[in-house]
Symmetry: C2
Subunit: 405 residues, 2 copies
């Protein structure tokens, strides 16, 4: 597969060897709030978790069962509505019990289940509801619709986020599928809030982890809704091997193909997360080129993507390139003010550090589209990076000022 | 003066040896938009300017006449409504002409005048209006009311920001007065948007600069409205020597007293800037203690003060300490999750990394006051820092999405 592209349907469509369920156990006000994704046997898996220093008990548990971030696992159980963060030893026991109960129902060893929780910080899980939910989900595995699983992990998201990509490895068709949640407290520094990826490829756990790291760098790590890295970011990938392709090394041709497939799914999910940021009306791509180093390109792109002034200007469809210039200039990334270039929607507004004349109505129109593209050139080198964000609207304030602890 | 406190009146009340004027020249839609502050002769002065890499032409000009940041100067001319940034050599000539015309009217040498501009980026100044404004301001010097000068430097600010403190040096009463503007694109990394300080103290220019640096670190540098460092931050101080106190070294007892006086005025102006941030309804003080180093304390305090989720929670009077914990944890400042402590309005919500029971109504009430205080202890050392910010409201979006280029 030369350039994999996500399948049109955007439905979960689990690869061979996996079953999933999403049920309501009553932690959220309405809708499904407990998801279970299970392989038929213990399979190679890899995990990335948040870099926040305050981490949830589920993440501490996952790190304890996968100390090197990869190994053979059966599946993952996820609840929304309560993140089980800052809950201490009692919260840790709750996370362990979630894993154990799900493992029991799947006839797996307890340490083969991953756990993730998302929602309010500082509250204990209602374990009676969780237990009931796990039993219900285990009963429904593979019988319900896949969307219920993608729905059960959402919090303030307005729509489910799923992606499937199909490629070929060693003459065999291979599928990679993923679900994700995003919306608020999104500036992942290891992964997004929560994403679960499944594939029928044959792939060793350590190769899986290396591919996942690369895919996350180009996708989830590029997203910033509000610069607030969560305490619960988790992305897990499981590989059932049911495609029957021969095993491959990370740096082989098949390894590059598989990594590309995984990156395609992660990039598509990351774009869905950015487009559905809290209060978002538009997806914003900030591409910075001409940076001295890749790290400086990332810093500059994130400075623009995190600027509330830039995000308000996009919401108002105002071609205010001055705010973009100021955001680039305040960042730690080196720029040459006399070679600085800024374009919005393909229209150049600043080049050689000087304003260019433009038709405001044309740029306004480009800024009202579903996807707004900002291109910047720092004039200092060859490195580039693309950050993903959304506009900043009154709705963001409504969601986050009216939401109560 | 052991603990100087700002005078009650909060009016500009220029110290002896200075005159000021604020007039309307027509750059803004309404109100005064050109300010002139002038000493009777060339006097010791010091200057701090933005660390943004994209800097306005007025700042480039000021740096050229004061390459070491201090020297003998006559005064400063400031316009609002247009920042003269990204305007190239033509913009540089405009800045020079502003200085020259003001100097001519004061019978000073052209290189003795400082210039500052604030407002939209990327537009040329309307020099016909500027010339008329300078002539008008020179005619009105000392005859109008001082508030007009403080008003003429404002952009989206809703009120003037002035402060006066009085102390004693070498047996003489000494006055320090200041005006400032803030409101949007405020995360000063050298100074605030614009502030002009005047004193009748006798003080050498290099001592003045050292005192100004220290005062700015404890005041303007602690403010963040929206994390967007401006291209035009400027703070200037002038010392007329009319108080007649003996000259002093920076590290003498008088030096410490004078530095304290200057810091008092800067801190008070910084609090006024934070309280009048775009869309602000409350001033928020984020005090971080228990940090490993002073730099880490600052990083942690700024991470909380810059978190849109925390600022929305304050706007909604929601005691959502989880967002504060997440903001501290994502920062580069080291913290001990098991010793972390968070209090809002003096009420402890988290200690030893565990939630404490609290009466939500009490904390809500504390969060609806004019000043909301957040105390955090990272449990890692002795260093502390206090950052200043405001809440994040729908009005911020309205101001910045509806404002058009």
């Amino acid at each position: 597969l030369e350039s994999p592209s996500p399948a049109a349907g955007r439905h979960l469509t689990l690869p061979e060897g996996f079953r999933a369920a999403g049920v309501r156990c009553g932690l959220k006000q309405t809708g499904e709030d407990l998801a279970l994704v299970a392989a038929e046997a213990d399979v190679p898996a890899a995990l990335l978790t948040t870099r926040n220093q305050v981490v949830g008990e589920p993440i501490k548990y996952c790190r304890s069962v996968l100390p090197r971030g990869c190994g053979r696992m059966r599946g993952i159980v996820i609840n929304s509505g309560c993140s089980n963060v800052c809950t201490g030893p009692a919260g840790r026991k709750d996370a362990e019990e979630m894993a154990r109960r799900a493992a029991d129902r799947l006839q797996a060893a307890p340490e083969r289940m991953l756990v993730a929780s998302t929602g309010i910080i500082g509250h204990r899980l209602d374990m009676e509801k969780i237990r009931r939910g796990i039993d219900l989900a285990a009963d429904e595995l593979g019988t319900g619709n896949d969307d219920a699983c993608a729905r059960a992990i959402l919090t303030t998201d307005t729509r489910i986020k799923t992606c499937v990509a199909i490629g070929e490895l060693g003459g065999r068709a291979v599928t990679v599928a993923g679900i994700a949640k995003g919306s608020g407290m999104i500036a992942p520094s290891m992964a997004t809030m929560i994403s679960v990826l499944t594939t029928d490829a044959t792939c060793r756990a350590n190769v899986l982890r290396r591919c996942l790291r690369e895919a996350a760098d180009a996708s989830f790590h590029a997203v910033t809704i509000d610069s607030d890295t969560s305490t619960s970011d988790t992305v897990a990938v499981f590989a059932s091997g049911r495609a029957g392709n021969p095993s491959f090394a990370a740096d082989s041709a098949d390894g590059r193909r598989f990594a590309g497939l995984l990156r395609t799914v992660c990039e598509d999910l990351a774009r869905q997360i950015a487009a559905d940021g809290e209060g978002a009306t538009r997806l914003v791509e900030v591409r910075v080129a001409g940076a001295h180093t890749p790290k400086q390109a990332r810093i500059a792109a994130k400075a623009v993507a995190d600027s509330p002034l830039v995000k308000c200007a996009i919401h108002g469809a105002d071609p205010n390139w001055g705010r973009i210039a100021a955001a680039l200039g305040k960042s730690a990334a080196k720029l040459d003010p006399d070679r600085l270039k800024i374009a919005i929607g393909g229209k150049t507004l600043l080049s050689g550090g000087r304003p260019r004349s433009f038709v405001a109505a044309d740029v306004c129109e480009a800024m009202q589209r579903e996807v707004v593209r900002i291109d910047c050139d720092l004039g200092c080198g060859e490195a580039s990076y693309t950050a993903l964000t959304c506009d900043l609207s009154r709705e963001y304030i409504a969601i986050n000022a009216d939401y109560h602890t």
